[in-house]
């Protein structure tokens, strides 16, 4: 029996320590997902809390032969969507991203100034994406889930995951090349391709 399965069995018997152990194992990863999708620490805390409280009554139905991570991520992603849709704060127009162009030379990538600006440009570019594209990016690049796992977490077909990832990358590449944060290099450049 896996560690997760053993904890679930004990939690269903009312063992609070087992529930805490489960929380301790997944709390940072889930918090990170919520924070990356909502960009709001307060919301991420609330989502993390609600996520575990919603998970508890459904633990008896979970397939404990598999790790609980993707299942818990699914709950957190759904709660993040609910929060974002209620507030409609996740989407920034791409124009607003472009308006933040900073005049000045883009020199060595090792300079702290350029790094900070690249960081800011990336952040704004990600925030300009739709909720679904942003979530796919977070789950793929930040959390390292496979396409199949992301399809399970987001409750959508595998093809949809790949399509969203493709379009997200394309939109980000366009924004970052425009900013000068990313150079166009040969076959890796798909800018302008449909």
């Amino acid at each position: 029996m896996s560690q997760d399965a053993e904890w679930v069995e004990r939690i269903l018997e009312g063992d609070e320590d087992a529930f805490e152990r489960l929380y301790q194992k997944y709390r940072r990863s889930l918090y990170r997902t919520a924070l990356a999708i909502t960009s709001d620490p307060g919301a991420a805390e609330e989502i993390l809390q609600d996520g575990f409280l919603r998970a508890y009554p459904h633990l008896h139905r979970v397939d404990c032969t598999k790790p609980l991570g993707p299942w818990l991520q699914r709950i957190v992603v759904n709660l993040s969507y609910n929060w974002a849709n209620q507030r409609k704060r996740w989407h920034l127009p791409l124009d607003e991203v472009m308006d933040r162009l900073v005049a000045g030379p883009w020199g060595s990538p090792h300079g702290s100034y350029e790094r900070e600006e690249t960081r800011e440009v990336l952040r704004r570019a990600i925030e300009s994406l739709s909720l679904e594209k942003r979530t796919v990016l977070v789950l793929f690049y930040l959390q390292g889930f496979s396409h199949a796992e992301i399809a399970y977490i987001m409750r959508c077909p595998l093809g949809t995951v790949k399509s969203r990832l493709h379009h997200a990358r394309k939109a980000l590449r366009h924004a970052l090349v425009q900013e000068g944060s990313l150079e166009v290099r040969g076959a890796a450049a798909d800018l302008g391709s449909s």
């Binding site: 960081r119 690049y141 990832l165």
Partner: protein, 126 residues
């Protein structure tokens, strides 16, 4: 596809930028301890509710056992005891344990069938 590309080709600039950029933007940090305290408080409440329901069911079963003992005592007083499978006017039904996953009955839903002692009670229902 993307996953195949990742396996067969080295990551491009954008892959690397996104991978490290996102980790830089959203590092794995410790959520506030209050989050767990809030979860623990609600977990204790939820676990208590389950215990109260279970206790309620136990009380109903205890009442059923007492009633059966009473019926046995009444039948012992009668010279001729005939159990008539007739529903009492009150219509109490025997408690049925819930199936796995089924909601636990509360005390108000617990009922008992009364088997009337026709001869001892003169065909009078409770």
């Amino acid at each position: 596809m993307e996953e195949d590309r990742r396996i067969s080709e080295p990551p491009d600039d954008l892959d690397l930028l996104l991978k490290w950029g996102l980790r830089d933007l959203y590092p794995e940090v410790e959520p506030p301890s209050q989050v767990w305290e809030n979860i623990r408080a609600r977990f204790a409440t939820a676990a208590t509710r389950v215990a109260v329901r279970t206790e309620g069911k136990r009380s109903s079963l205890h009442g059923l056992a007492r009633f059966r003992a009473l019926l046995a005592a009444w039948s012992a007083r009668s010279e001729e005891t005939v159990w008539v499978p007739r529903r009492a006017a009150v219509g109490w039904m025997e408690t049925v344990p819930p199936r796995p996953g089924e909601a636990i009955y509360d005390e108000q839903q617990t009922t008992i069938h009364l088997w009337v002692l026709a001869n001892a009670l003169g065909n009078h229902a409770f």
